[in-house]
């Protein structure tokens, strides 16, 4: 059977009319044209100009690794400073005189060589040696030679044996940068030498640099808190552990966890208030409960307005009244979701079956009892599942409201990103948020499945399905 025969025999199902055959093609063409315009107008093709992989990989490195700085000034070669993340407040070794011997807190990757030089060993097996008048790097991959960096007569840094310089050494007029991989970096300036040594992990996560518990590590500290002598004679080890953890000066656990709690409470209280307000109001907006059309219309429009004015604008208004803090978030969420829950619930009430209400009526119950036993049992599972659904999405919303100024973990995150230096903290907070959101998601999905059984349908479609019944 060829094409023309098919068309002849099945003329009722084979579409031959040009317009009905082509509309989908035109639709697709239209979409493609729009996408091209949008790509051009949104500057998507310029992405490679803005994206610097070097910068991004440096930031990414900072989220899961930490670095130690070793700094030597050419003018005072005796005063070597070894510090964590280059911070003035966390120096392993402050300015010290070599003749005084090793200070107590000398990191194990540093040592003093035979000529009195400071040796820094790296993970790649190489060494950087800081002498009084030169810096050498030895035993590094891709090069057999020991490279020597000195200052010339004008005070500019130069490399002594220049003939075959590896690619990972960049020499500019005022600076020599040695960076064979992301994990080690030697910078020679005309004023000073700076060595960065990266290692994996979040250092000082449990206890900060100056904490008395820091030398013990977390597991030993925990076992010490149940047995063993007091480290600080004034308080018990367990309180010390909690106190040192929460007051960690580098990670600010206390502050961050409190902010997280604020955000969770923002979502929780906002949703609860919305449920407490929206549930009764929904009855007054449903035609099978409230006979007055006037009341119903007003409530319907009220719900639409509350929902339509986005929680963003609500939070701006509340921000003026309550200032930065959880109340702003709570009320913004509560007001918006009163509208949403009220609308959804009034629709659900209107779609309940009349028979149950009639059954209750036949026993002589008054209107209130009819609604209590005829309607509420029907809509309660939907109501609870809807509330949980909104609780989950409000957790995300609370983070956003927080960043707009209401406080909580959102604001902390915004601050950490804007400083641009503490990417490990950004990572830490992102993981906390992710954990809370996933927890809320799974919990609410479980409860919803237990209540309704039909988890697969989205919020509004469940109602639509009910209406169809």
């Amino acid at each position: 059977m060829n094409r023309s025969e098919i068309i002849e025999n099945y003329s009722d199902i084979v579409v031959t009319k040009f317009s009905s055959k082509m509309w989908s093609t035109f639709l697709v063409l239209g979409i493609i044209v729009y996408l091209i315009i949008a790509i051009l107008s949104l500057d998507i093709l310029q992405i490679h100009k803005k994206w610097s992989p070097e910068r991004a990989s440096l930031f990414a490195l900072d989220t899961y690794a930490h670095k130690d700085h070793v700094t030597m000034k050419w003018s005072e070669p005796d005063d070597i400073i070894i510090s964590f993340e280059g911070s003035r407040w966390s120096q392993y070794v402050g300015p010290y005189q070599k003749s005084d011997g090793l200070p107590a807190r000398y990191p194990e990757w540093t040592s003093i060589g035979s000529e009195g030089e400071t040796k820094i060993s790296f993970k790649n097996g190489g060494f950087a040696n800081l002498y009084d008048d030169k810096v050498t790097i030895e035993n590094w991959p891709d090069t057999q030679e020991t490279l020597v960096f000195r200052l010339d007569a004008q005070g500019k840094p130069y490399v002594e044996n220049v003939d075959n310089l590896p690619k990972w050494i960049r020499v500019t007029e005022n600076k020599i940068e040695v960076r064979p991989s992301l994990y080690e970096r030697v910078q020679v300036y005309s004023k000073k030498v700076e060595v960065h040594r990266y290692s994996l992990g979040w250092n000082y996560f449990w206890f900060d640099f100056d904490s008395p518990l820091e030398p013990y590590g977390i597991w030993n500290a925990i076992s010490l808190s149940f047995s063993g002598d007091r480290i600080d004679p004034n308080i018990s080890n367990f309180s010390l552990l909690i106190q040192e953890f929460l007051n960690n000066d580098m990670w600010h656990h206390g502050q961050i966890l409190w902010a997280l709690l604020e955000t969770i409470f923002m979502a929780l209280l906002g949703t609860l208030l919305a449920a407490l307000l929206g549930f009764p109001l929904a009855f007054f907006a449903a035609y099978n409960v409230t006979p007055f059309k006037f009341v119903r219309t007003i409530l319907r429009r009220l719900f639409d307005t509350l929902r339509g004015i986005d929680f963003l604008i609500w939070s701006l208004i509340f921000l003026r009244a309550f200032g930065p803090g959880p109340f702003t978030g709570i009320f913004a969420i509560a007001i918006t979701d009163t509208g949403t829950l009220g609308k959804l619930m009034s629709e659900a009430i209107e779609n309940t079956e009349e028979k149950q209400q009639e059954g209750v009526e036949s026993t002589g119950a008054n209107k209130t009892l009819q609604h209590r036993f005829g309607i509420i049992p029907q809509i309660l599972p939907i109501f609870i599942s809807q509330t949980l659904y909104y609780l989950e999405s409000n957790t995300r919303g609370a983070v956003i409201i927080g960043a707009m100024g209401a406080g909580g973990i959102g604001l902390q995150l915004l601050g950490a990103i804007n400083t641009g230096t503490s990417w490990e903290k950004v990572m830490y907070m992102s993981l906390l948020i992710l954990g809370v959101v996933i927890f809320m998601d799974t919990m609410s999905a479980k409860v919803r499945r237990a209540l309704i059984g039909d988890e697969t349908l989205g919020a509004e479609l469940q109602l639509a399905k009910m209406a169809k019944k």
């Binding site: 949104l42 109340f327 998601d441």
Partner: protein, 284 residues
Amino acid sequence: MQSSLPENLIKIENNLKSLTRTRSIYSFLSIAALIAVIYSGLIVAETGNATSIWVGLPKFFDYPIDLFVGSWEYGYRWNLLLLEYLPDLISTINMALFSTAMGTLLAFFLSIFSSRNLIKSKTTVLIFRRIMDICRSFPELVIALVLLYLLGKSALPAVIAIIIHTAGALGKLFSEAIENVDKNPIEGLESCGASWFTRIRFGVVTQALPLFLTYTILRFEINIRASTILGFVGAGGIGEQLYTNIQWKYEADTIAIMFLLVSTIIALDYLSSYWRKSLIGLKS
């Protein structure tokens, strides 16, 4: 009177009483728990808040009144402001539309690979589901803030952030819709030797398309709100204008932008509920 009842009725009566008692204990406990949560939450909020609730409540209408007074003083040229900010609104809508389109496309591919009735390998399904979970759980704002820092201030980071979130959120809904389709058309296609792609095209997509479209329209509405919010942190569009005007205390401009935003959202709300109802055949 009590003693005259038969024994089994007394038993039932007692049983009922004890059941009622347990029930009321349970409801009492849950109400107590609810009150405890609200109370402790209020304490957390009260300590964390700059202004106490009792100081803040009377001031609630201050800002709206300020706004209206300011725009009243601005005079009759106020409606021209609406025109002035229209291009920003359009650029926000454009951001939302483009990222919804791209996100939907991504979500479609993700959902195919995370549907158990299309992919036999359990690990593939699991991996794609976890990818979608992570995309979905990160608030757009977090991704957008990091990208804004890396790429500089433009609409691009916001678009990428919304695409990622949309792909995760829609992907989950899509895969649920795909898993719920009727198996018979797919089996029928398979029996006449249709390839995997043909089966998806004619067996799955045809069935799930109304649901896909419904979810996409709903998402578009959400994404307009999201792109407005991301404008606040530097993605441009009407959100950024709103932020600047609030900072500068230009009441008339602020009201004009709020008016544009709210009317867009309400219009879209009505439009999308109309579309959705006609798609799932509710509209008679």
